[in-house]
Symmetry: C2
Subunit: 304 residues, 2 copies
């Protein structure tokens, strides 16, 4: 049985493209693997897969007894059912170290860069394996997506260098134009509220409290004006399912900031985390674009 | 303030040499770091440091508020005091993924190879940084120590290749002879029983139970005949300090097997783990040389 290469719950473009790229790399290193995902591709990811002629990975909801190579996470709350009896062979990631543990030594490449695909680009180089042209294009898009076309504070020199190298392999001349095309697809909000909230949503364990943080990135916040009340009602529902707080970041990638919708048993954590007093259900956080670098660490401290 | 590069409790040669090598590598990458250790060097490690003219790292017992690069572990039970308020910037390791977590992204290189210094050799290559001759010699010894001169089942092709390359850098022509010289130093048992038990000792959390596993490696088990009763009395004492079990592996590196001394609230775990019935306080485990690969995973399953 092939091991599965699998990203996190509510997969984003990085998570899905990383599974495809890592499966290519591992199989060329001699491992028997298949790319998988915990859910369907979002419209952004579909755009990327279609553009480069790649298939969406197999959707897998239970991994009991399976061997896994994880990409883009190491947190149990983002794992599928059956994780208890699965064996983790490796992790490629760019997040904080989560609460996964293993019974045997594993292969982990976890770097503080903007995107898992940046780590994978270096892994291809390290093993001297050529990146296929179509996978290179998708990897480039994943990096543009995760770094918000280099604007996110998570973006590093390594991300930029990887995009340069991948653009050459994929034969892409105007990287910025491709990025904007992709973010326009991402900005489409003609979907059920639930899909929008969970499009890029993660649960965290913060000092014993279950905290959900979602993010929608758009090229102009006015796009979301019509759906904001619906999104708020939806995150109230998500909170009522046993969570202490649910926060939804509405990120304006051109203005470079986020409006955060807030539902919490203790809204004071928001002021503790960001030093800004929320205006009822919402707060504008100028410059805040990265859940990983600017939101999660601040909340981790505020919840302590 | 410099960040500390720090290995596990009861540091072995790999842990101390990895801290020295990683500190060299990180400082050449532009980070401000200092090598540290959680305890004094063992006779084996002292032999290696003296042979290659290296200083023992600073001994550090409390890391409250400090920034850390960890080497050779990711398990909280092997961490020093003050870990709660320390910040982990990175991990280089070759063990199972432990229960450390971080609040921010980190740089982790964790590979299923025989020695942390094998990972570090690849990291030097990856960053295009030359390994100083004396550090190369010590890294080579650390790999010989952890892989028991290539005899341990943990030993991989990557470990052997690293030793070949490091021998060239360090100008060492007879690697096997250096290995035997080192293991003869390691075989010396003229030390207090407590020192012998804790020379290479680790506590594990196995399904909520605290389990200590120590290991002494000698070139001939008869060397330990005189001290065996004393060692047994000592691990009884260690167990009485709130542990479910303490196991001490007495490994004969020439016969390639280990006698395991057993003190446990439930000695049946030994039979569950190894399929061999202990003869009272002890059991001979043919072929068992690696705590990490052959002992810990088996106990993890037996304790489930």
């Amino acid at each position: 049985m092939s091991a599965l290469v699998l990203g996190h719950m509510n997969p984003d473009t990085d998570s899905i493209v990383a599974a495809i790229a890592a499966a290519d790399l591992y199989s060329k290193r001699g491992f028997s693997v298949a790319a998988a995902a915990q859910g369907e591709a979002t419209p952004e990811t579909e755009f990327v897969l279609r553009k480069f002629g790649l298939c969406a990975p197999l959707v897998v909801k239970d991994v009991a007894g399976k061997e896994l190579w994880l990409v883009d996470y190491s947190d149990l709350p983002q794992a599928p059912a059956g994780m208890d009896s699965a064996t983790i062979l490796g992790i490629v990631d760019h997040h904080k170290l989560g609460n996964m543990t293993t019974a045997s030594p594993l292969e982990a490449w976890i770097w503080p860069v903007g995107c898992t695909n940046t780590v994978l680009k270096s892994m291809y180089d390290f093993y001297g394996i050529e990146i296929p042209k179509n996978i290179a294009g998708a990897m480039l898009c994943a990096i543009l997506s995760d770094t918000v076309i280099f604007k996110s504070p998570t973006c590093t020199e390594a991300d930029k260098k990887s995009v340069d190298a991948l653009a050459k392999i994929a034969g892409i001349s105007d990287v910025a134009a491709l990025g904007m095309e992709m973010f326009k697809v991402k900005s489409a909000v003609d979907a059920p509220m639930k899909d929008l909230v969970f499009r890029d949503y993660k649960d965290f364990d913060m000092n014993g409290k279950k905290v959900g943080i979602g993010q929608l990135e758009v090229v102009d916040l006015s796009i979301l004006a019509k759906v904001k009340d619906g999104l708020y009602a939806e995150i109230q529902k998500v909170k009522s399912e046993g969570r202490h707080s649910v926060f939804l970041l509405l990120t304006d990638i051109m203005k470079e900031g986020s409006e955060m919708l807030i539902v919490s048993d203790d809204p004071s954590v928001v002021e503790k985390a960001f030093g800004v007093k929320p205006d009822g259900k919402t707060v504008w956080l100028p410059g805040v674009m990265s859940r990983k670098k600017q939101v999660v660490p601040n909340f981790e401290k505020a919840f302590k």
